[in-house]
Symmetry: C3
Subunit: 350 residues, 3 copies
């Protein structure tokens, strides 16, 4: 945790600002959020995952945010919220507001004279802004971040250090991009021709909507012909790979290490688990949940949860089961043969 704790708020003030039902002493003051496990008396914790229910009894927190379901008596004040995790997010934002942007262009930044910079823009040392770049007001461009020719960043964009955005890409408002991400590199377009690969020019862009967050070292390739599109409110974790001409629907959230092959279209409000993959040229409808480590090889037309991870086990059991798996087709045939035999036997008897 940071060393400097923010000024305190009473529980009454918190409920006054954010709603929720307060049970207990409204004058109790807290000055930071905390986990149940490590909470100090001047902090407020939350319970959103039943896994941590046992910690409620031992926590030293001054108050706790809980869901409506929790009926157990508590010694400490509680705020009952319909969605305790979202409520917690809001409380944390009260105590930990995003620091105001410090406007200014560092003398060690390299800004092309034909770039257009909005009011309040910050550009860090070593950042490189090429010709024709447009930065909306209050954008923050981190040290060492490179924006290629013609890149547009909407107002309030926050690019951390060492990000690379290739020429022509367009980012919406309030986009956050973490360090090491690469937006708009060439898609993997190659054509086999007489024993050699021919490069297919990648002339599309990456177009990113408003309120998108992109994790560290994530890569989003530019389109081969048309654009790669990330719609509003999409949240991408770290080390995700988005192939050329993919479209990701609004408010979809994707966990780390996922790979999405070229030209696939993912719906709105989907949730994709870590290290999953989406093969190319598929369509996934809205509200689909993909479990971790799943490879999606066909389009999905119905909302729901889809899974394809091999169930792990101790190595000895795995060896036996995996060896059997290699003969599963044959086993199925043998079972069918026995079923026939038993059926024939019955007929013979009757």
């Amino acid at each position: 945790m940071e060393n400097q704790l923010p000024p305190s708020l009473s529980l009454g003030e918190i409920v006054g600002r954010l709603g929720g039902e307060l049970i207990g002493d409204a004058s109790v003051k807290v000055r930071q959020v905390a986990t149940l496990e490590k909470a100090a008396p001047d902090t407020i914790a939350f319970l959103a995952n039943e896994r941590y229910l046992g910690q409620l009894k031992t926590t030293r927190a001054g108050a706790v945010i809980v869901g409506a379901k929790l009926s157990e008596p508590l010694d400490m004040p509680r705020i009952v919220a319909v969605n305790p995790y979202a409520y917690f997010a809001r409380v944390s934002a009260l105590f930990n507001p995003v620091p105001a942007n410090v406007a200014g262009i560092h003398p060690a930044a390299v800004v092309h004279p034909q770039a257009i910079l909005g009011a309040g823009v910050y550009i860090g040392p070593g950042a490189v802004i090429e010709a024709g770049v447009t930065l909306g007001k209050n954008c923050s461009i981190g040290a060492g971040t490179c924006l290629g020719a013609g890149v547009e960043v909407g107002e309030g964009g926050m690019l951390y250090p060492n990000v690379t955005v290739y020429h022509g890409c367009k980012l919406g408002k309030r986009v956050i991009i973490h360090a090491g991400a690469v937006i708009g590199a060439d898609g993997f377009g190659i054509a086999m021709d007489d024993g050699r690969w021919l490069k297919v020019p990648q002339i599309g862009r990456v177009v990113i909507g408003d309120d998108v967050e992109i994790g560290a070292n994530t890569t989003i390739d530019r389109g081969a012909i048309d654009d790669t599109v990330i719609e509003d409110g999409v949240k991408l974790d770290n080390q995700i790979q988005v192939g050329h001409n993919v479209r990701i629907g609004a408010h979809t959230a994707i966990a780390a290490c996922v790979g999405i092959a070229g030209s696939s279209r993912i719906g709105r409000l989907c949730r994709i688990g870590g290290a999953s993959g989406i093969a190319g040229h598929l369509t996934i409808t809205d509200n689909v949940e993909i479990s971790a480590h799943t490879l999606v090889t066909k389009s999905i037309t119905e909302a729901g949860t889809y899974t394809g991870a091999y169930p792990f086990e101790n190595n000895r059991d795995w060896r036996r089961n995996a060896a059997s798996l290699r003969n599963l087709g044959e086993l199925t045939t043998r079972v069918r043969a026995m079923e026939q035999e038993l059926k024939q036997g019955k007929k013979g008897k009757s």
Copy 2:
């Protein structure tokens, strides 16, 4: 798509330059490539994937590139090519040539006086060129890219921003490296010794052949003793990890997120699907295709296609099947026992 469209060419001129059979009006002019779906009348589209056959009827393209198999009548002119995707790649390259390198060293680049720079070299702002680096003619080194001591880049090398190449590594001619890639970091060489890991010095290099393209945020480790080698014409997508002392054969193409463990040797003209893995110390022969999400745990001595992804399904079915999978070895034993019993039963009867 880019705003400025290139000058137009007639279909007759295209076929004159690139071959293929033109059916229809040779005077029709086009000025860019397009997808069937979004084509305008002054563009030429292509059909290489039958998935998009339906779009042929509704496209507004001025012409289309198709394979010899397609026999359907079309209203618009078509160019028939043996390999329509490769033909399309060439047409696109006509309209979208690689921009000529702008020679020059940006004043904010840091170039060691003992570096040797060929004619026509470009070095972007914030790029760092250490002692003993050799850049062939017409190399382009992007902003923020760092080349360690003694690195060699052959002529026409194109390194995008924020690439890192460690000391001593050698890149062939016309190599393209996308942003964030790291070439020549230490391999994962550690020896367990009395409850602690001892670092094994990594004294090999990475040696990369001609016409290799390396995707964004891909990492290729230097050899532990001998070199890690990427042969001519290899194409690596984004976020691939190549371990120390791996050798990748010429013209092999590897999709994103693949990991190749140390000392494995991959043949020529292989194709490896996204997020697959190759365990260490294996040998994969030429012309092997590995499907996506497959872990290769043994050497492969015969060309062909190899697969190992768990088939995804809706979560309810997956739960049932995966639970059964954990007992598959036992199920196999039970089936064998029944087969014996049925056999015995027959003997008893006869």
Copy 3:
């Protein structure tokens, strides 16, 4: 291999410094380590993996390091070591010592006046050191590396180029971080709220112990509330993703491309194979080995080896077996029914 070979040592000198039993001529001199396959007569090779036993007969090495088990006669001198790979690591370190740090701040580095720099520190061109950073003595900060406000790096830290460390993170002594790694980016903390994702402020830090090595393009997220912790001696390969509030126990080694979801705790001396995943909120005890491509979905309380990769096979066999896998639950039911039937049949007879 590097061009300049180090000065030679006799086998007697090597055994004098590092122990081990020498069999053969102690005056034989070597000047570098080598692989059995490519060894020259003035080098010393090693055999730690039986896979390479055949190369012992043909190697041109001047000497070889072997384990106690190897009883075959050899023409060349050998050093017998309990742990030949660790012994080799030490011999290689004799010939290939880490180059001494060249102290100094490059004029193109950007160092905040409120940073505190120990003696002997090196800061490369384009590196950015923000306010309140503390660098221990003999730290080396590579070109283009960015350290956010308040970052601490212990003595002897070695950060390669283009690393990003976010504000407030703390690195122990002798930490090595390879190029492109990102330490302390925001964890993936989002709360669904009325059809949109709400960002949860990530106010923890990343705290890294002594003697940790972190591979190229690996990402370690800062904690949501408490810190993400990497204990002493942990070794992380390239392209690993460590989620917020993870704790990795001392001397655990993790191969490339692994993803660890938020709040999981991994024990000491674990070994995790490439491209594996650990789901969130789990606890893995000490001395656990996870095979490559395994998704761990439950806590592990017993030391041992755990596996969950789909066994790969040629595509034709895979198709048949995978299709059967989709019906495995049903097959199990059918087998149970047959077993019942056979049992009934017996009863009927008796």
